[in-house]
């Protein structure tokens, strides 16, 4: 007691709030300035620009138009159909990718969580596409999706079905193009999810499986009643990031289809970028950006709520 008393006294200043004022500010200043300059300011500018008619390199100064840009992209028959179409495409894309990719990721994770010699070697292959830049993946798959019988996918489907499946125009058929991009995106992204699910699987206490075995639960019952509930939070997280990823869809569309055919693959980001970049309509592009951000925030809040409910229950 006698010995520790002076230490406590010497320690007290270190605990006082504001003790490291100078160091704290200096340490965080470079990052904070960069974040403000290149994230916060542009983010605020998105709202400001969305209420103007503004062009790059224009002689005329920007004109304030209030919510006119929003009215146009949401309700004006000249501009709104393409925007609603892009929202619908993002939604369709998410409705394909999120369930399929999540289910595949869980299946692969269970497959690759087995106690087998050389299993790590197999895992490597499934993670490999994750390190591939999406631009490269999109270029390679453009060729795989080639429309006639020379296309790799068409060749494979014809071979596996003994010629029963005729060649498809994967990227040129409005009914197929978005599905094709979804298939490619699932291939590129499933390894990422698999790794997360694999980590989640290894968090499940083995005792639960032992108990289930003693109760004579089948493998399938164990999966339904031990594995899936154990993965709940992991899956909520995985589903949320995949949903947001689906909304961000841009690279693949830009490279493979330019939004076509018949706007069947255009997306919110593709519209925002082409409005600003091709049509030089920065105001409209910014308005689309703001709507995009509002949707992202809504999804994040919903996910937080689901996770919070879970912690309250348990």
């Amino acid at each position: 007691m006698v010995l520790s008393a002076p230490t406590n006294q010497r320690r007290r200043p270190a605990v006082r709030f504001g003790y490291d004022n100078a160091a704290g500010v200096l340490f965080s200043l470079p990052a904070v300035l960069l974040l403000i300059g290149f994230v916060v300011v542009p983010f605020i500018m998105a709202f400001v620009l969305s209420m103007q008619i503004v062009r790059l390199d224009a002689a005329r100064p920007p004109i304030w138009v209030g919510l006119e840009q929003y009215r146009r992209i949401l309700f004006d028959p000249d501009f709104s159909p393409i925007f609603w179409r892009s929202l619908l495409n993002n939604l369709t894309f998410a409705l394909i990718v999120v369930p399929v990719q999540t289910a595949l990721a869980v299946a692969l994770a269970v497959l690759l969580n087995q106690k087998l010699r050389g299993i790590a070697f197999f895992r490597t292959f499934f993670f490999l596409p994750v390190v591939f830049p999406m631009a490269l993946v999109a270029v390679v798959w453009t060729l795989i999706f080639s429309r006639d019988s020379l296309g790799l996918l068409n060749g494979f489907l014809s071979w596996i079905s003994f010629g029963a499946i005729p060649p498809q125009d994967w990227l040129g058929n409005p009914a197929l193009a978005l599905i094709s991009i979804a298939i490619m995106s699932i291939w590129a992204g499933v390894g990422f999810q698999m790794v997360i699910v694999l980590a989640g699987l290894q968090e499940i206490p083995p005792e639960l499986y032992e108990a289930a075995s003693i109760d004579k639960a089948s493998k399938w019952q164990q999966f339904l009643h031990v594995t899936l509930p154990g993965l709940r939070n992991t899956l909520v997280f995985v589903i949320m990031i995949t949903t947001i990823f689906s909304l961000r869809l841009f690279d693949q569309v830009y490279i493979m289809t330019s939004g076509g055919p018949d706007d069947s693959t255009t997306t919110v980001m593709y519209q925002a970028v082409t409005s600003a970049f091709v049509e030089n309509n920065v105001g409209r592009g910014s308005a689309m950006t703001v709507i995009f951000v509002l949707i992202i925030i809504a999804i994040t809040l919903i996910q937080r709520r689901i996770l919070r409910q879970d912690t309250q229950i348990s």
Binding site: Q114, K115, V131, A276
Partner: protein
């Protein structure tokens, strides 16, 4: 969720969770059979999954007219390095750009984003996790809000604001150096470090600068490795912003150039695939060398998010 950097055991032995280590199948022949079946499933699924990459790899060594040939694209015949030589020599003027320039651009962007990012983000995170200063809570709040904001949310206004810096290296790296996500990863790691060593060093008269660089950084190799890997991957793949900001070949990064290359008729698929292989080789080498770190950092970043 959990702040500990638990290694998700991706190599070697695994806890037998879903595996059949339950003593069901004690008779040996049956187990050998199921093991064989398991490997058959694994090999088939892996082969299917790897096919697109194999296709690119084989195609990069084949004459272009034999790449687009149905399943024949997989046949390893007429192989040569012609596409690789062709892809390096075809970019031979300022109008096409030079192959070395694309590489240089990607390398400069990656080095500055990763290197600069490690310094500014780790320092900011340390200030948030361990120093006591006015404004700390506000900055922490800002970082947490910015974590959920994807780059797409600011691409259009940034395109407008940075118009004067089109066609530079600067515009390609500066928005990505500071990263709320990296700060967050560092922050959760530093919070988990034992505070005693740092406290006693400070009582011995070491300032925050010395404590950070000489004590905290050496203790934090795992998080530095994770952030390096994740930011390198993102920087090397950067596409959306270069599309908007770069139209001069000299400043095109590799992913943008492969998109431009692919869109130029007549498409020479053999050379495009060779370009693709050259583009991805640096990441694949780093990935194969540091595979455990890669997978671990992806898994742990997700657990924290």
């Amino acid at each position: 969720m959990s702040t500990s950097l638990r290694e998700p055991t991706l190599t070697g032995s695994l806890p037998a969770s879903t595996a059949s280590a339950d003593g069901h199948s004690r008779r040996k022949p049956r187990r050998a059979l199921t093991t064989g079946a398991k490997y058959a499933v694994l090999v088939t699924v892996t082969a299917l999954f790897f096919a697109p990459i194999a296709y690119m790899l084989i195609g990069s060594f084949k004459p272009s007219d034999e790449v687009l040939d149905g399943l024949g694209g997989f046949l390893p015949v007429d192989l040569s390095f012609d596409n690789y030589l062709g892809v390096i020599t075809r970019f031979d003027s300022p109008a096409t750009g030079y192959f070395a320039n694309f590489y240089l651009t990607s390398a400069i962007v990656a080095v500055v984003v990763v290197g600069g990012g490690l310094v500014v983000n780790s320092m900011a995170a340390y200030a948030l996790a361990r120093l006591r200063w006015r404004g700390r809570n506000s900055v922490l709040m800002l970082v947490i809000i910015l974590v959920i904001l994807p780059f797409e949310a600011i691409a259009v206004p940034l395109y407008y604001l940075m118009n004067d810096y089109r066609n530079t290296y600067f515009v390609q790296f500066i928005p990505f150096v500071a990263s709320a996500f990296s700060i967050f990863l560092f922050y959760t790691f530093f919070i988990g470090l034992p505070a005693e060593i740092q406290e006693s060093a400070r009582l011995d008269g070491a300032g925050p600068w010395r404590v950070f660089w000489q004590i905290v950084v050496p203790m934090s190799k795992p998080v530095f490795a994770s952030v390096t890997i994740l930011s390198f991957l993102a920087a090397w793949s950067s596409f959306l912003f270069p599309v908007m900001m770069i139209d001069q070949p000299q400043y095109r990064p590799l992913p943008l150039e492969i998109a431009v290359f692919k869109a130029q008729p007549p498409t020479d698929w053999g050379q495009i695939f060779a370009f693709g292989v050259l583009l991805v080789i640096p990441v694949v080498i780093v990935f194969l060398l540091f595979q455990r770190w890669f997978i671990q950092s992806v898994a742990s970043s997700a657990m924290k998010g």
